[in-house]
Amino acid sequence: MNNTREEVGEFTQIFNALMSLMRTFIFKVLRVGPIPTNISFIMDGNRRFAKKRNLEGLDAGHRAGFISVKYILQYCKEIGVPYVTLYAFGMDNFKRGPEEVKCVMDLMLEKVELTIDQAVSGNMNGVRIIFAGDLNSLNERFRAATQKLMKLTEENRDLIVVVCVAYSTSVEIVHAVRDSCVRKSKIGDGSVALELSDIEECMYTSVVPVPDLVIRTGGGDRLSNFMTWQTSKSLLHRTEALWPELGLWHLVWAILKFQRMQDYLQKKKKFH
């Protein structure tokens, strides 16, 4: 996932190799301490980035954001984080102007189809992609593409990426309640005593463990209806950097912060 299509010159190759070596050292140090099992990213700030850099086009900021996604996934894979969750598009983002929504959807479709080509040609590097959210509310073509990509990458285990599209916790819980009601009525026992496990099983993100660390870019300090159920015990980290500006050092800092909080977290866990 880190190969670009254009020719890579000799100097660039040496530079890339040096950077890669430096990263290996940094990550080896990081791995001495605990690494989060699931890092979740709230990718905020794309449009502000485009405005800041005077980029043309409605989706320019989001394209820059996608490049950032690739880099961050690569770093997470090198560090050895098993699961990554990305908040790509929320149900409440449909409230934006129809032009912008269409633009973003088209961009996502384009990238998904690109990734499908990569998967078909065996270039996925062991990355598995899962789409979480109310996929039935997406258009037919997009939904088919997501199903295809999920199927193609099902066997990969090196890094599992959950992309949340048309997702919001309220929708997720409503859907989980509906599903568990239907399930319980099929079993047909007298009492309808829903348990926590029933609801959690029916959540869109039930296949992955809960996030340990939530990183929100763009300076906002809120959850925006993203996994408020699953992140009740996670560390919430925010940074003023916009999503396309998020780099290696921000990620390292967030993980160091997570490691610093571990003592307190372990103490809390011991009592449970």
């Binding site: 934006r96 009525s185 809120r222 560390l235």
Partner: protein, 310 residues
């Protein structure tokens, strides 16, 4: 970064906690074990040397106007503020006191914040007093907490009723002692028509438990044939949650003290678009100045609720 928000301690913070105060605290905690005599309680507010609401009973309109500080704009005040009152234990430990002294100092801090909310036009204040995760604390601390809660409710009863404050308690009340439940029911009944400020105290509360009990209620209604499965939507769940006792169930601002950066199972569904503010101070130290800082930060934020500001 959050670390830049730490305010260096000023003399204002230390003024309240001089040596004489500590000695009084020590004597009081000794008294606490001997008896819960009414004499000790009456003097408690005075002995602390901290402003307690007993000394200032009524608010006048003129007082209200002048006490909103210049940094805050009245039209941008949040309607609903939620607070996770964390750090009592650590505060007590830092001063070499017992955890229950920390909780008592916490109650005084809460009284101050409730007063400020009433003055500054905040409609609802939700505080996280006791979580389902706190049940694993030592029995003696839990017993003390509940008796402290009961005593505070009894002593502030009159005051709250006079100041038009409505109290609601949310959470799993099945494990609470009966005497506390009686006081709670009484105070809820008496204050239910008050309109100035609604104080919601979450005791034995957990966000997940709240959503779960709402879902159980809905599942039961589906089973009884009252509603169809397809009719289950967000509004239905909202109506079944325990925060249906208020007109504004969604907090605009959540404050967590003591520097912890997590939500810890408080108000799950309702926190969807809440602005979060993490304060470094421990709860007993979080007074008016900390509150003003949180509100100023809130007023400077741009809230988009998923949409776009054009």
């Amino acid at each position: 970064m959050l670390s830049l928000r730490v305010r260096p301690p000023t003399s204002f913070d230390f003024r309240r906690f001089n040596a004489g105060y500590l000695e009084r605290q020590w004597r009081l905690s000794r008294d606490c074990f001997l008896s819960f005599s009414p004499k000790v309680e009456e003097n408690r507010g005075v002995r602390f040397g901290v402003k307690s609401s007993k000394s200032e009973v009524s608010f006048t309109a003129a007082e209200e106007e002048e006490t909103l500080p210049e940094e805050l704009q009245p039209e941008l005040m949040p309607k609903h503020v939620a607070i996770i009152m964390d750090g009592n234990g650590r505060w007590a430990k830092n001063r070499g006191l017992q955890p229950w002294d920390g909780h008592r100092a916490g109650v005084e801090a809460l009284k101050e914040i409730v007063k400020l909310c009433g003055k500054w036009g905040i409609q609802v204040l939700t505080v996280f007093a006791f979580s389902t995760d706190n049940w694993i604390r030592p029995r003696i601390e839990i017993d003390f907490l509940f008796s402290l809660f009961e005593r505070s409710l009894k002593s502030e009863f009159q005051n709250l009723a006079e100041n038009n404050v409505r109290i609601s308690i949310i959470g799993d009340s099945s494990k609470l002692p009966k005497s506390l439940l009686r006081v709670i029911n009484e105070i809820e009944e008496v204050t239910k028509n008050n309109t100035r400020l609604q104080l919601i105290v979450a005791v034995g509360y957990s966000g997940k438990y709240d959503v779960l009990q709402a879902c159980r209620g809905i599942a039961q209604r589906v089973k009884d044939g009252e509603i169809e499965v397809e009719e289950i939507d967000e509004r239905l769940i909202e109506e079944e949650l325990e925060t249906n006792c208020t007109e504004f169930p969604y907090p605009d601002l959540l404050i967590r003290t003591s520097g912890e950066l997590r939500v810890s199972n408080f108000l799950l569904w309702q926190l969807a678009y809440t602005e979060l503010f993490f304060a470094q101070e421990l709860w007993p130290d979080f007074g008016r100045s900390g509150f003003i800082e949180a509100l100023t930060s809130f007023q400077q934020r741009q809230r988009r609720f998923g949409g776009r500001k054009s």
